[in-house]
Amino acid sequence: MSWTLIALLLLPLVGSLVVAFLKGNDRTAKLVALGFSLVELALAVVAWVAYDPSSGARLQLTSSVDWIPTFGVHLSFGVDGIALVMIALIAFLMPVVIGGAWSDKLPEGRSASGFFSLLLAMQTGMVGVFAATDVFLFYVFFEAVLVPMYFLIGRFGGPNRQYAAMKFFLYSLLGGLIMLASVIGLYVTSADKLGQGTLDWATLVTVMKDAPTSTQIWLFLGFFIAFAIKAPLVPLHTWLPDAGAEAPVGAGVLLVGVLDKIGTFGFLRYCLPLFPAASKQLAPLVLVLAVVGIIYGSLLAVGQTDMKRFVAYTSIAHFGFIALGIFAFSSQAGAGSVLYMVNHGISTGMLFLVVGMVMSRGGSRLIQDYGGMAKLTPVLGGLFFVAGLSSLALPGTNSFVSEFLVLIGSYPNQPVFTIISTVGMVLAALYVLWVYQRVFQGPVRGTALLNVAAGPGTATDPERSGIKDLNRREIAVLAPLVALVLVLGFYPKPVLDVISPSIGATLSEVGVTDPVAQEGK
């Protein structure tokens, strides 16, 4: 019985409640929220140290108590390397998000305590999703995490927030209900086989291994659709640009950086091990969606006029790479995908934050309202560029390692899909550099920059625009992200060492061997 995960789960919940009661005292609420998130980060470090990747145990830090014995449902938790890095990612991002949202202007009548309380509630939900080792428990967290996000978008978001929140909600709810059907199906299948039904993940893996392919395919599809909405894969992606654009920046970072990874995490934890035959049979279908997502998402990112929607579409392209790596079935591609999930959280999180910092200065989301901003805010320009480089996977940044692993690992099994995907590398350079050019390069221009101090059309002198470069808080928020971008770009080994054994276990559960064999090591 390990208490680490339970502490990780409960701490933000307690924090959320405490912060909620600090209504009317915003500063204290923020400090308390930050304090809780930092303690949570320390706990995540403890979990990281306690986890032993070389032990060979599939799930570690496990704990379990009966919940609904009649239906074989337990409150059981545990992590493999994949879940561990995701939990570490949330723990890392949360203080950054809280710092980033520190002086956000909230909509009329909304309090900071409510906002930060919801952020912490989100964290509990997300830790639960990654740490649950009972399928029903996973389902509960999967649905529960929608609630705080719905309120974060719907109450604290942009002008079109109600619409975006509902769209997000309907999509996810629909996916969840379809998944629920499959969860029930799993219970039935296990009951058939064992006499007593169970929803314990590890038991189900052994049960489902020999299930007929047709059963597997039906149940696979239930999970797959839910995850493909979450991830999101084209054509189930249209909720994301709206939700991402309307969400307040902090919630957007969590939404795209972590919450969406539930989908790709689900592929790895549920689709592949529980339905190996179906996974192999349907892989080409998923790969098509993945590659279409890469190209389609990139092309749409090129054409966006709104910076936040732009970030959302780049993410759709990146999710394509992640899905490609997962369904290419090799240790390099799989490890690359998981690392991609982490790196995308860091780089897109950073991109969201710098876009937020641009918007907080110019007051507009539209690219065309800006221009030549690097002259006014060189540090913000530089950090926007770093986030962009990480997004286009330049070697030396974190994302290169993961994108390279996904592609080189996918090539042996799927050369055609891989080669098409590499076009996404060129498109990524295009969309990043073009946005950077339009917002930051050229002469100072755009209504958002020139009319801040004076009335419309009067201030043409950039010096008097009143736009200031980053303050200390903003630099402090971005600095840890830049550091991780570089550290993981040069030395990803510690993370890869945690991920790789779990990918190896997943591949053997699917029953595939690496296309490029390891020689005598």
Partner: protein, 652 residues
């Protein structure tokens, strides 16, 4: 007939002085990091730190070079393991350096020319705001370029390859408030990325077929590859080389890159980065040795590009753009040379080195002229400047003589050897490639002489114009010593490097452990004959230019009514128009169309479904307001369904 896999010389672990080789990367990187982080505090001393780190790297490189020279040929290849970079399963990418004659040659070129250009930039950039940042980017470039040539495998090469692309982007876009500079920078990065795809896919194939990406292992086992895989790899690597080295069909970015400050053009877009493609092919010689077809394509690309560069170079009026197309064309010679295989690898590298001297010198001379002429770049607004800038003129003229291949200047030795080797190819190939190379020599002499006349000789046309287009009066003047000294040093190299490297096959012998022995050729024309022909043709080019441009005064604006070939050359032989029509415009339309479809079609479908679910938009709105309740209700309904289902299963 073909040399054995010559690059596969066994490497020993680096020891002694060589075990500090990481300093080569770390010194410039340290400089860059300090300059970027220190901000305005570094304004006073930033440029000095930048220079110091590069000069220190050069000094270390020299020491390492002489130490290696003292060792036997078989001990000259060593490897230095730094750390595991990307280890997953069978893939084991280490961060390691390979020190051998080829990489050390490049180290000296990069840090040597790099030091000179750093020093030159102190004066050239003296009036720039944020000069420290410029030095930070230059340092970043040197560090990445050294990684490119020192890395011990294709993935570390790729790292350096994209790293120099980043530095190039930052420096082309140095004047980023100018829209054309920002666009040129973006174009360079994008066209390079297209080439990078080739390099990346080649690496994927190596991993799939051989399970490794390090030079030692790939070259040792290259004969396990099928001939199809080898051909694919050679062509894909060539695509990478075309992007980085401005070769056809990816040449269009290089002239635009001249939007960057002139020291950048000299270092990155003439002497070092753009020659990386030549390095890549020479480095991969064990692979290219196995594919005659692959090498033929390399030769064709080199030949086509060298002509394209020459022809367009004849028509431009922008000082730096003429030099840029000259670079495109000279790299065409180098690519042609390495495409010849074992008879040409060392020749390509030799031309690369001599070109590094004289082309960097020519660019610095151009920078010096522009510096003294209110940043004027249009050669039609110059003329007669030799009198006002004697040192610049003298050093530039020496570089000019080297480039057009007049003996005994350096370009003569290196270019002639390539032409002779091209004639040595069997059958029609010898005549075609040799002929193209000869023709190129004549054209080179023509456009360079035109440049010489319009800038330094003839009537001072700027005197009639009085002011540059921005209204400042012209006061041509010689540049400060910090700029003159690098020009003089490079001029000395332009004079002597060719003979020095050629004499007794000094360079070829030094490179043998990496490139294999330089093989002799005996073609349709012997070496003396080729030498006589190429010098004679160059002189014809010079004479023609004097006849056309030297006898009568030239107009200060370009004549508009010109023949079709001149129009075509002025339009880059329609390279940009083609890119525009084939990729840029259809791409823009596709992107716009998809945005429309995504908003109206895909999203509309979903919204429609949502509206259906809600019954009507009115009910949708009500749903929004009371949504929590509905959610609680649906949770409850869901739970009831589950329970019901479970009960049925349990008790049926």
């Amino acid at each position: 007939m073909l040399a054995p896999a010559s690059g596969a010389t066994d490497a020993v672990a680096a020891s002694g002085l060589a075990s500090l080789a990481w300093l080569l990367l770390a010194l410039p990187a340290f400089g860059a990091a300090v300059l970027l982080l220190a901000g305005k505090r570094a304004d006073k001393w930033g440029h000095l730190l930048g220079c110091a780190t590069i000069i220190a790297a050069f000094a270390y490189g020299l020491a390492l070079f002489f130490t290696t020279l003292g060792q036997g040929a078989e001990e000259r290849t060593s490897e230095l393991h730094l750390f595991d970079w990307i280890p997953v399963g069978a893939l084991d990418v280490e961060f390691g350096l390979r020190l051998d004659p080829l990489s050390l040659t490049f180290v000296l070129l990069i840090t040597g020319v790099g030091s000179l250009i750093h020093i030159y930039s102190i004066g050239y950039m003296a009036h720039e705001e944020g000069r420290r940042k410029f030095f930070a980017y230059l340092n970043l470039f040197v560090s990445a370029m050294l990684l490119l040539v020192l890395g011990n495998g294709f993935v570390t090469l790729y790292f350096g390859w994209e790293g120099v692309g980043l530095a190039s982007y930052l420096l082309i876009g140095w004047y980023q408030y100018k829209p054309e500079a920002a666009s040129a920078a973006k174009k360079a990065f994008l066209m390079n990325r297209v080439g990078d795809l080739g390099l990346a896919i080649a690496i994927f194939i190596m991993f799939k077929e051989l399970g490794t990406t390090t030079y030692t292992d790939v070259f040792a086992r290259v004969d396990e590859l099928s001939s199809g895989s080898i051909l694919a790899i050679t062509l894909l690597l060539l695509l990478g080389a075309c992007g980085k080295s401005g070769q056809f069909p990816l040449q269009a970015w290089l002239p635009d890159a001249m939007a960057g400050p002139t020291p950048v053009s000299a270092l990155i877009h003439a002497a070092t980065m753009v020659t990386a493609g030549v390095y890549l092919i020479a480095r991969s010689n064990p692979i290219y040795n196995l594919s005659a077809d692959g090498r033929l394509v390399v030769m064709i690309i080199g030949g086509v590009t060298l002509l394209i560069g020459c022809i367009i170079g004849c028509a431009y009026d922008d000082f730096k753009k003429v030099l840029a197309y000259s670079t495109v064309s000279q790299i065409g010679y180098m690519i042609l040379a390495v495409g010849l295989g074992p008879v040409g690898y060392a020749l390509g590298i030799m031309h690369l080195l001599t070109h590094g001297f004289f082309k960097a010198g020519l660019f610095l001379g151009a920078g010096s002229v522009m510096h003294g002429m209110n940043d004027e770049g249009n050669i039609r607004r110059m003329g007669g400047l030799a009198k006002y800038m004697p040192v610049t003129f003298a050093t530039w003229a020496l570089g000019y003589l080297a480039l057009i291949g007049i003996p005994p200047f350096s370009g003569f030795f290196s270019k002639d050897a390539i032409i002779a080797a091209a004639f040595g190819e069997p059958g029609w190939r010898g005549y075609v490639f040799g002929g193209v190379a000869l023709l190129g020599a004549a054209l080179t002499a023509f456009y360079m002489t035109r440049l010489l006349i319009l800038v330094f000789l003839g009537k001072p046309r700027w005197k009639e114009l009085k002011t540059s287009e921005d209204g400042r009066e012209y006061h041509p003047h010689e540049s400060p010593w910090s700029m003159k000294i690098p020009m003089i040093v490079l001029a000395v190299g332009s004079v002597g490097a060719g003979f020095f490297l050629e004499n007794g096959e000094r360079l070829a012998g030094w490179l043998e452990p990496t490139l294999g022995p330089l093989q002799e050729t005996h073609g349709a024309l012997d070496h003396t004959m080729v030498a006589i022909l190429s010098v004679a043709l160059s002189l014809v080019g010079v004479a023609l230019a004097f006849l056309l441009f030297g006898r009568k005064p030239q107009p200060t604006t370009r004549p508009l009514r010109v023949s079709f070939p001149v129009r075509a050359a002025r339009a880059d032989l329609y390279g940009n128009a083609l890119n525009e029509a084939l990729f840029a415009r259809p791409g823009t339309w596709l992107s716009r169309a998809l945005v429309f479809v995504d908003n109206k079609g895909v999203d509309g479908l979903v919204n429609g479904t949502a509206a259906l679910l809600g019954g009507s938009s009115g009910r949708l709105r009500r749903l929004q307001t009371g949504f929590v309740r509905s959610y609680a209700l649906s949770m409850l309904l869901g739970a009831i369904c589950v329970l019901g289902a479970l009960l049925m299963v349990r008790f049926s």
